[in-house]
């Protein structure tokens, strides 16, 4: 007696296609597209989806979470400083107080809880998908993104002819980490500035990242380490509180931008 019921190969293929097509049709014209599925992108997606915003994350890798799986020096303990432990409470992730105002939790637990929180809230995920460019509309406002499958980028240009596709949206959140890919795309077009480093003082880096999170260009919000690159803020320690709170700020800014 087999454990599983019978399903033909063709049925499996049809199921994959139907599920993917259904979701992808929704992405084609959505409210918020988040580029990057690290902690700030996931946090923003979770908060937006909880407010019934149609939101999709584009992640270039097949896995989500970015650097949130591990802490500093490849050790998988995550640290957050108060008040970011409240976010761990929100997503149901247990933690311990290491010292006054400093909390620790296993990276895999925190990361998987955050991914689940974003998915449970209703955020859609499109992984193995790379950001290529922005869609510009009236008054040079960003109103969408151009994407392609990640594997296309691993092939030599001479033998690939896979054209990208575009998605329309009201707001794009650049949560691509140090690369700040969306802002870089705007810079290449001569539309936005990436601020050079040097003017900030390192002691306030986490606060600075959270406070700089917001609209960086009409239609574009920067979150997480992309904030740091956009504004030339100093690197900060292996503590993820700023990433989580930056994601929350990005969601608030997106809601405000959409008048919600």
């Amino acid at each position: 007696m087999p454990i599983f019921q019978k399903a033909g190969e063709a049925d499996v293929t049809r199921a994959i296609l139907a599920g993917f097509t259904h979701d992808f049709e929704e992405y084609a014209d959505t409210e918020v597209v988040i580029i990057g599925g690290g902690p700030s992108g996931l946090m923003a997606a979770r908060d937006l989806a909880r407010k019934n915003v149609k939101v999709v994350i584009m992640e270039r890798n097949n896995y989500l979470g970015g650097g949130f799986w591990i802490g500093g020096f490849l050790m998988n303990t995550i640290t957050v400083r108060a008040p970011a432990q409240k976010v761990l409470d929100e997503i149901g992730c247990p933690y311990k107080e290491f010292s006054k105002n400093l909390y620790v939790t296993p990276g895999p637990h925190a990361c998987s809880k955050l991914i689940a929180a974003a998915c449970d809230a209703g955020a859609k995920i499109q992984n193995m998908t790379s950001f290529e460019d922005v869609v510009i509309r009236e008054k040079n406002r960003v109103s969408g993104v151009v994407i392609n499958w990640t594997p296309v980028h691993t092939l030599p240009r001479e033998i690939t002819c896979v054209d990208p596709i575009a998605l329309e949206c009201k707001v794009v959140i650049d949560a691509t980490g140090h690369q700040a890919e969306v802002m870089q795309a705007l810079k290449k077009r001569g539309l936005a500035k990436i601020v050079g480093e040097g003017g900030m003082w390192v002691e306030k880096s986490e606060d600075a990242v959270v406070e700089h999170t917001g609209i960086a260009y009409p239609g574009v919000i920067v979150a997480g380490m992309a904030v740091s690159s956009t504004y030339g803020l100093p690197r900060m320690g292996p503590t993820f509180g700023a990433m989580l709170l930056s994601g929350k700020r990005a969601a608030e800014a997106a809601l405000k931008e959409m008048g919600k």
């Binding site: 006054k100 601020v195 986490e206």
Partner: protein
């Protein structure tokens, strides 16, 4: 030749609740005999009309590289939006940005209504923004005060400008050399009490002395004293600052006599 103002205005820093500007005003009035009033946050007092333009000017005053003279240029869209958020909510502290003090001072002067611009009226603006000036040694230096018209007194400068204990920087440098990233604020815990920190309950008492330095500069043109036990001492270290400002109302003989002369002149 002294330049006597007949009124002093202190503008509150709403982002620093531990600073009691009213107490500071009372102190100045008692010690100098010059009528002193407090007003709300300067940018709120005079900046209601065109917040976006003011945000743009402040954003353009950001120092992008502390090792180069100020490079003027258009501010990025996001930098203006950032400043706008803080102008709309002045109770929030601006973190992690150094501003060119001279450009901020010029902006404040331009914002002052003409009727308020007079040698007989002196303005002292408390702010949480960190200000600096490019100095002869080829880099920017943060300041607690920038004497001018108006004078600026930075509550962030009070924490960041005078140096903390040497060991603090040795430890910080070790982390940087190790290639490690640390939340530097946590280093402070080891040195708690040895420097003035944000929202420190001692801020009002310390800033009384710095406000006095600004006023004395506007009257006599000489802000600083070389005597470490005088409140008009120009402290380069936090330990010196604590020594000069938190041991009662101490002045050197020359400045005690100067302050008495100012008070007599103001009351006559």
């Amino acid at each position: 030749m002294w330049n006597f103002p007949d009124r002093l205005f202190l503008y509150k820093d709403e982002a620093t609740p531990s600073l009691d500007a009213d107490k500071t005003a009372t102190y100045l009035q008692e010690i100098l005999g010059i009528p002193t009033e407090t007003r709300q946050d300067f940018l709120r007092e005079y900046g209601r009309k065109d917040l976006r333009r003011i945000a743009e000017r402040i954003a353009e005053s950001r120092v992008k590289n502390v090792d180069r003279p100020f490079e003027s240029g258009q501010a990025a869209y996001g930098e203006i939006e950032f400043e706008l958020r803080f102008l709309e909510n002045p109770t929030k502290k601006v973190p992690g940005v150094l501003y060119d003090g001279l450009r901020i001072e010029r902006l404040l002067l331009e914002m002052l209504p003409r009727r308020m611009r007079a040698a007989k009226i002196q303005h002292f603006v408390f702010t949480s923004r960190l200000i600096g000036t490019f100095e002869a040694d080829g880099r920017y230096h943060a300041h607690v005060i920038l004497c001018g018209y108006p004078s600026i007194i930075s509550t962030s400068g009070l924490v960041e400008a005078p140096a903390k204990p040497k060991e603090y920087y040795v430890l910080k440098q070790r982390f940087i050399q190790a290639g490690d990233d640390v939340p530097f604020e946590m280093l402070k815990e080891r040195f708690a009490g040895q420097f003035i920190d944000y929202d420190d309950p001692r801020i009002t008492e310390v800033l009384k002395g710095y406000a006095l330095q600004c006023v004395v500069h506007s009257i006599a043109g000489e802000p600083f004293c070389q005597n470490r036990r005088c409140r008009l001492f120009d402290a380069h270290w936090q330990s010196e600052l604590i020594e000069a400002q938190l041991h009662g109302d101490r002045f050197c003989k020359r400045h005690r006599e100067m302050l008495t002369a100012i008070r007599r002149a103001a009351e006559s």
